[in-house]
Subunit: 323 residues, 2 copies
């Protein structure tokens, strides 16, 4: 599975960071999905080489502008590229009338249908063929959600030892069993595929959260997750200074949660623009966020940067692509 | 007067060009104005060093997405920067309910008031202290306008020859006359300031058009204009191929008009993404647009690029800043 960050700043952009959006896809898949779509996301897609034509679904965590103002432009551009396939949008309910209002005022007509899915109906919807998607409600000053993406199908390996022990020689029968099909041998023996397949590995699972001041709301979801992508808008010190109004997490809050939940990979994002990429002149730096998180979390920790692409291996290890 | 281009692509962005927006201001003024606000304009403003806090007014030519989808994000960012001064928005009427719909859905509350001006009321509105603004209706497939910006106040120079000939010595009296005030001399003579001021120079005037397939609609406005900024989406050949549906201009169409109108400076913008910045592999290039325009126009011609800043001197010459 792959996650590519398209924007990692909160509220307003910085010179190096757009506002929130991230692409998710199964490794090697042509189609991909988008979680959140801040203004400028389509510009980042050009740089990432991700086409709005092969975008299968958009998942919006919440309706603050820094998570959804790029949507009308992306829809328009997909139209100009002559997209014809339906595009699924999973989002809090008020998004649909807002987009329809924008489309009417700007006379935007799309050559493809929009398939709207209310978040509450997501568990019954079959949105992606390769990934099961679930939503978990978070705590923020507007209705807000996290999405988890879990591999729907995990490849099975043959238990070759057992096949050989049973006198079943390598051949077309092995292929049938690997496909999960029961087989009747020429000698009349009936083989149940399941008996000759090694136990499946755990399906990979990634959680991408929206804005949230209570990471523990993800406790159930995180139990079997390999990766948690979560906002860490500030350090704890600044969070205390700012007060509880904005309802964001600190690095410490998220890191402690990820450590307790046993999540192996934690990627922080959605940084307040007050944190500079490079420390200097006594200004606040993203190093402060990283340092604070490391104090509470022993797993693989990363701070997302725009256009960073991560690959989650079948071994559950998250690696920054191109490194 | 200064014009800075913030986006010069039409419809969709390219790797080097955002979609339409341009900043206008009197040279040296702190406050500035924005004409159109495509998605990503606020990112360009960061690079241009133009603050949403010192933005005085926004003029929207028409409501196609590639001219206005950056507006909600810019308004939000100005809010986060604690802007308190009212922001004037001049736009076709359906923009206001659209923005209000977006603000409601995304719970965007601004710490400053929006002062909406319907384009039809612009001639009665005193939008900018330093520039008179007028709107001219264009021909496009949605209600669309051009805005002209004319210096409201032109400095006056003393007619020192006449003052000396009248025996009026250099002193405080000269200052009074320069300020346009009539003076009574100690000998009882009454001086009318106007009689001792050199004729004012022509106020500088810039026209920035929206999308338009009939440049001649600007004939009246262009008569005393120093600069015309106008879309030249394609060459004439491509315009013929595409057909009249999109209602855009070709380079030839605009250049011929500017030549006939006697406009001294012509800046083309809003280029179809099919034109590459650098020619190669037989692809269409912006050189084609430039060449076509030069065939019909003998004045100062420029093709706008993102972040290019032009200065219009008191001599009526338009110069690319930093060159």
């Amino acid at each position: 599975m792959e996650i590519q960050f398209l924007g990692t700043s909160s509220g307003t952009p910085t010179r190096s960071r757009n506002m929130t959006a991230a692409a998710v896809r199964s490794s090697g898949a042509k189609h991909w999905s988008l979680v959140d779509c801040a203004e400028g996301t389509q510009y980042r897609l050009q740089r990432a080489g991700l086409s709005p034509v092969s975008l299968r679904a958009i998942f919006i965590t919440h309706l603050h502008g820094d998570h959804c103002y790029g949507l009308p432009g992306l829809l328009a551009t997909a139209g100009m590229l002559n997209r014809s396939e339906a595009l699924t949008i999973v989002a809090p309910a008020p998004l649909r009338p807002m987009i329809e209002c924008i489309m009417a005022a700007t006379q935007l007509e799309l050559p493809y249908p929009l398939a709207w899915v209310a978040i509450e109906d997501l568990s019954h919807a079959d949105v992606l063929p390769d990934l099961r998607v679930r939503a978990t409600r978070l705590s923020h000053r507007i209705d807000c959600w996290a999405y988890s993406f879990t591999e729907a199908v995990v490849e099975r390996h043959l238990d070759t030892g057992r096949l050989r022990a049973g006198g079943i020689a390598s051949g077309p029968v092995w292929g049938e069993i690997q496909r999960g099909r029961n087989v009747v041998l020429p000698d009349g023996r009936e083989l149940t595929a399941e008996d000759y397949l090694a136990p499946p590995r755990k399906p990979r699972k990634v959680i991408i959260g929206g804005d949230n001041d209570t990471p523990s709301l993800l406790a159930d979801e995180a139990r079997d997750a390999d990766v948690l992508v979560h906002e860490a808008t500030y350090t704890e010190e600044i969070r205390q200074k700012v007060g509880p109004g904005p309802q964001h997490s600190s690095a410490a809050l998220v890191a402690r949660f990820a450590q307790e939940a046993g999540v192996r990979n934690l990627v922080l994002t959605h940084f307040s623009p007050r944190y500079q990429d490079r420390p200097g002149n006594g200004s606040l730096s993203l190093d402060d966020i990283e340092k604070e998180a490391r104090e509470h979390y022993q797993g693989m920790l990363a701070l997302a940067r725009d256009l960073d692409r991560y690959e989650l291996g079948k071994d559950g290890v998250l690696r920054l692509a191109g490194q």
